[in-house]
């Protein structure tokens, strides 16, 4: 009863039984231009994992998902593209990049739902996924063996409640986990069960054993500031994008920097903070500009942040743009919103837009 298999899912299962790889005919390997990948919602309400040619907006892959997807991850070594179910979903999908075929469908462990994001160990062998033990409310990191069909081999505490995005610090087997503090349960999709008592944190964990190396919490007065998204610079600085679950007319800071031990919230001018609408959708590191980019989709705003000088600018993209990612060492920023894929290059404004009719970008994307 706990793991009911949907009809759509059964269809997918037929194509991905066990460890067997069943290639579909068709898609040529992507070459030349830039491809971006992300989960999308179709015009009629379906859900897909997509790989899209950036310049033309033409799909190379649109793999049907058993439910709404969220974060995506590229396992370049073996040519796999992963998508995680959106909270509180219960699937993890790996697609074969060269064929577009479904390779693995992994069902969440009993009493666990996915948080929406994952990251690989430095050698690509282990996958770490944010999960929620929904009966106890304990956040966990599920550990999966990428060389064994993403078999779930272990789990450890995430160090908080409602882990959402996690990153691995460059060059280290260390995970930084955004424990959003929000308690959720699959019986009440999207309902937050502990808004009054939530306590988010940023936890730094040893990826090899789950040991907690450091934890940073926002000040008590800002306990309704959910720590959800983050990115690491090449030298391991962390930029955190938050969302505020408290009164809609409050204006807490929504971006913070961290060295792991503490959080340093930074605020933009009030007019910009107003337009961020208490919400950050995703964070990307732009190495070439030495800036982090943070999307705030309600009004289609991307803000830029320096760990030295704080807020350093903003640019307009179309409303409903959450998905952002960096290309070419951070010289180019891609942003997906609605049916539009927008490129920001050099000029600091959108210089090219391609559209995919009937496919709407969801929260996150990556460049491949």
């Amino acid at each position: 009863m706990e793991t009911e298999v949907d009809d759509t899912r059964r269809g997918i299962l037929r194509a991905a039984l066990g460890c067997a790889l069943l290639p579909l005919p068709g898609l040529a390997a992507a070459t030349g231009s830039v491809n971006v990948a992300g989960c999308r919602v179709t015009r009629t309400g379906g859900y897909v994992l997509s790989l899209v040619d950036g310049a033309s907006g033409v799909s190379r892959i649109d793999l049907e998902l058993p439910g709404r997807g969220h974060g995506v991850l590229h396992h370049a070594g073996v040519g796999e593209l992963l998508a995680f179910a959106r909270r509180p979903g219960d699937f993890l999908v790996a697609a074969d990049v060269s064929t577009g075929a479904l390779k693995y469908l992994v069902q969440a462990a009993r009493d666990r739902h996915y948080g929406g994001h994952g990251v690989f160990s430095g050698d690509g062998r282990w996958l770490f996924a944010t999960e929620n033990d929904f009966e106890s409310g304990r956040g966990v990191i599920g550990v999966y063996d990428a060389e064994d069909c993403y078999r779930r081999v272990d789990e450890f505490d995430s160090g908080g409640t409602g882990p959402h995005e996690l990153v691995r610090l460059p060059g280290q087997e260390v995970l930084a986990v955004a424990n959003g503090g929000l308690r959720t349960h699959p019986d009440f999709p999207r309902e937050i069960l502990n808004v009054d008592s939530m306590r988010p944190n940023l936890a730094v964990l040893d990826a090899q054993n789950g040991r907690r190396l450091a934890v940073a919490e926002p000040p008590a007065a800002l306990h309704q500031l959910s720590i959800r998204h983050l990115a690491a610079s090449d030298d391991g600085r962390l930029c955190i994008g938050m969302q505020y679950q408290g009164p809609r007319d409050a204006r807490p800071p929504l971006v913070a920097f961290s060295d792991g031990d503490s959080l340093e919230p930074v605020a933009p001018p009030p007019a910009v903070l107003d337009r961020m609408r208490n919400y950050c959708g995703s964070v990307a590191w732009l190495a070439a500009a030495n800036r982090f980019a943070v999307s705030s989709p309600h009004e289609g705003l991307i803000t830029l942040w320096s760990s030295e000088s704080g807020f350093s600018g903003a640019l307009d993209v179309r409303p409903d743009t959450s998905a952002i990612c960096a290309e070419d060492g951070g010289r180019v920023l891609w942003a997906g919103g609605g049916e539009a894929l927008q490129r920001v290059r050099h000029a600091g404004s959108v210089d090219m837009t391609s559209t995919s009719d009937g496919y709407f970008w969801d929260n996150h994307m990556i460049v491949m």
Binding site: M1, E2, E4, D7, T8, R10, V41, R43, T44, G45, H70, R87, G116, H164, L182, D187, F188, R190, E191, I192, R228, P247, R248, D249, A250, P269, V272, R275, R277, N278, A288, A289, N290, R291, P297, H298, E299, G300, L304, S312, G313, A314, L315, D316, P319, D320, T321, S322, G330, R331, G337, G338, H346, A347, G348, S349, G358, F360, W361, N363
Partner: protein, 364 residues
């Protein structure tokens, strides 16, 4: 590195442009979103909640009367009162904002979808323990959400078509649960009404004053987007959960017990009420301000098509999904709903220059 410096410099300049960005308008056409919100409040939400509130005392009375002396007539009346309340709840099932969102009320009134079978599980536990303390008005509303509302009441009244005798003797506790749920629904709907109407914190004032921003709505645009999103999500719920999941791929994989309200045989009646309700809210608020005449007509035609189809079913969904003709017509209905999803996901928000709210409204 030169590129980097240019990007950084340009984005610093760009912030000055940001503050000048305009509010909602389409090709210079100003859409009065405050008027949209207020029309939905006055012409749709408040009357519908009033009707729901009015259906609660008759349900409670019918439960009291039946349990005082269980007989066929009493059970028939009680079932009718349950149906009446359910009719009025289905009108509001999609609403996620306002007082129904406080204290888990929405789920306490009806826990559905219930993919993990929690209603049955918690109800069995409650009945097995038969502890009157669980039903105390001070405890019952704080216990499991699954057994507090319409889904649990449907289990008790309709599953296996119980005779009045099932509620007497050893079954007397079942009737105590029926009464506790009915009283709970009376209490919840009463609180919702009070929260909308009364006092300086009355939620209706949050609508009226949305343009200035308040603890619930950042501005009138945010509120309009939330209202529109609820309509779109309900259309998606109808397609995904009320039709596709029970239908399955074929007659063999059909799963009638995934349908909503299959025990009471009213799955498609719910769908009809949902579609009528979405249409009514659309007509009250959004339709009058749509700029493109063809779009307004297209949405109206799509509602008409879907409603004509759902009106044509003369048997319950559970009896239709096994036979080829029934399946064909249900698949056609599902396709008609998908057309509406498409309008509310794409064309309607675009016409009003509102974000479809896919990624911006529910926190990830």
């Amino acid at each position: 590195m030169k590129h980097a410096i240019r990007l950084a410099a340009a984005v610093i300049a760009a912030v000055f442009a940001v503050q000048a960005a305009a509010q909602s308008s389409t090709d210079g056409r100003e859409v009065d979103l405050s008027a949209v919100n207020m029309a939905i409040l006055e012409d749709f939400l408040l009357p519908a909640y009033a009707r729901l509130e009015e259906a609660a005392p008759p349900l409670d009375d019918a439960a009291q009367a039946f349990c005082a002396a269980p007989d066929d007539a009493g059970l028939t009346s009680l079932k009718a009162a349950w149906h009446e309340f359910m009719d009025r709840w289905q009108v509001l099932q999609h609403v996620s904002l306002g007082p129904v969102s406080f204290e888990m009320r929405r789920y306490r009134i009806q826990l559905w979808p219930d993919k993990r079978g929690n209603v049955g599980k918690h109800l069995r536990r409650l009945l097995a323990a038969a502890d009157p303390g669980d039903l105390e008005p001070s405890r019952f509303p704080r216990g499991s959400v699954a057994i507090q509302g319409l889904s649990a009441l449907e289990h008790l009244l309709f599953e296996d078509d119980p005779a009045p005798a099932a509620f007497t003797g050893d079954g007397a506790f079942r009737c105590d649960v029926v009464r506790a749920i009915s009283a709970n629904l009376l209490s919840i709907t009463g609180q919702i009404g009070v929260d909308w109407r009364e006092g300086p914190g009355a939620h209706r004032t949050k609508f009226e004053l949305a343009s200035a921003g308040n603890a619930f709505y950042e501005n009138e645009e945010a509120l309009a987007e939330m209202l529109l999103r609820d309509l779109r999500m309900q259309l998606q719920l109808i397609g995904e959960y009320k039709l596709t999941r029970p239908l399955g791929d074929d007659a063999r994989s059909a799963r009638p017990r995934r349908a909503e309200s299959w025990r009471s045989g009213r799955s498609l009646r719910n769908v009809r009420i949902n579609l009528e309700s979405i249409r009514d809210e659309w007509r009250a608020g959004f339709a009058p301000v749509i700029g493109e005449r063809g779009l307004r007509d297209g949405v109206e035609a799509a509602f008409e098509d879907a409603l004509a189809q759902v009106a044509g079913f003369e048997r319950p969904l559970v009896n239709l999904i096994g036979d080829p003709d029934g399946r064909r017509r249900l698949v056609a209905l599902n396709a008609a709903v998908a057309v509406l999803v498409e309008y509310f996901l794409d064309d309607v928000p675009a016409d009003l220059d509102l974000a479809a709210g896919l990624v911006s409204l529910d926190g990830d």
